[in-house]
Symmetry: C2
């Protein structure tokens, strides 16, 4: 299925909707159809190319049911590339709420509209009072 997204935001909405609806085909259609795609999920090895799709399979194939609330933080467009930083609040039934995590979603505009090129998660700040790991820049 090839889908054209008119804006990076359209692609982003489709990305999180596809996870919410556990729609593997739709999720795949959000990604650019190329070996350039790359993904860094929390505490996971870096993936690129077709292996990216494998990483999301547990979210659509029923192994894990997640609900992701997304808060937009910042956007930046640079020609054919769009950068979207969001905060993801990931909830799984039966588990205590997790701290929100950051995601940087990077979209590229091609001949068939905007598609997701890179998805990269990063931990958000530790709770107040927590000790940062040694060598990390201390909280401001």
């Amino acid at each position: 299925m090839t889908q054209e997204f008119a804006t990076a935001q359209d692609a982003e909405d489709a990305f999180y909707d596809a996870i919410d609806e556990r729609d593997a085909e739709q999720l795949r259609a959000v990604w650019e159809d190329s070996d350039d795609i790359a993904c860094l999920l929390p505490m996971q090895p870096m993936l690129h190319g077709a292996t990216v799709h494998d990483a999301f399979r547990p979210l659509t194939d029923g192994e894990i049911r997640v609900e992701i609330q997304v808060r937009h933080i910042r956007w930046l467009e640079a020609g054919e590339i769009a950068f979207h930083w969001v905060e993801e609040l990931v909830k799984t039934p039966g588990n205590p709420p997790q701290p929100a995590i950051y995601a940087l979603n990077i979209y590229r505009r091609g001949e068939s509209g905007w598609h997701l090129l890179i998805h990269q998660n990063s931990p958000s700040p530790a709770p107040p009072g927590a000790t940062p790991p040694p060598g990390m820049v201390p909280s401001r």
Copy 2:
């Protein structure tokens, strides 16, 4: 100080050299001189614009002495934007070695060459046997 870097890799080398040499002026010169710059250090709030420079001050002003070994993982160029994924092994004297972390360094080519636009760290995979946080996609 305005410095022109002929390639994204030149800018990247200068970035890690400046941290190694604790050279705040050089470190600042690696970043694009704009409000578009953004940075996500491990467990830190997202920073953008001039506040990015503040976050690196402890690394150059003597509060923290770090040695960072960098391993290149993957590059991608898209017009005026270059994406470099690296693994950073951060060592601080007197502390046990930390697990390597991923960094995505994104460079933009402008009228005065390539400069760092975005620096974003992400945790690398948990050690074998460790339990991923609930809701996270399990290790492949």
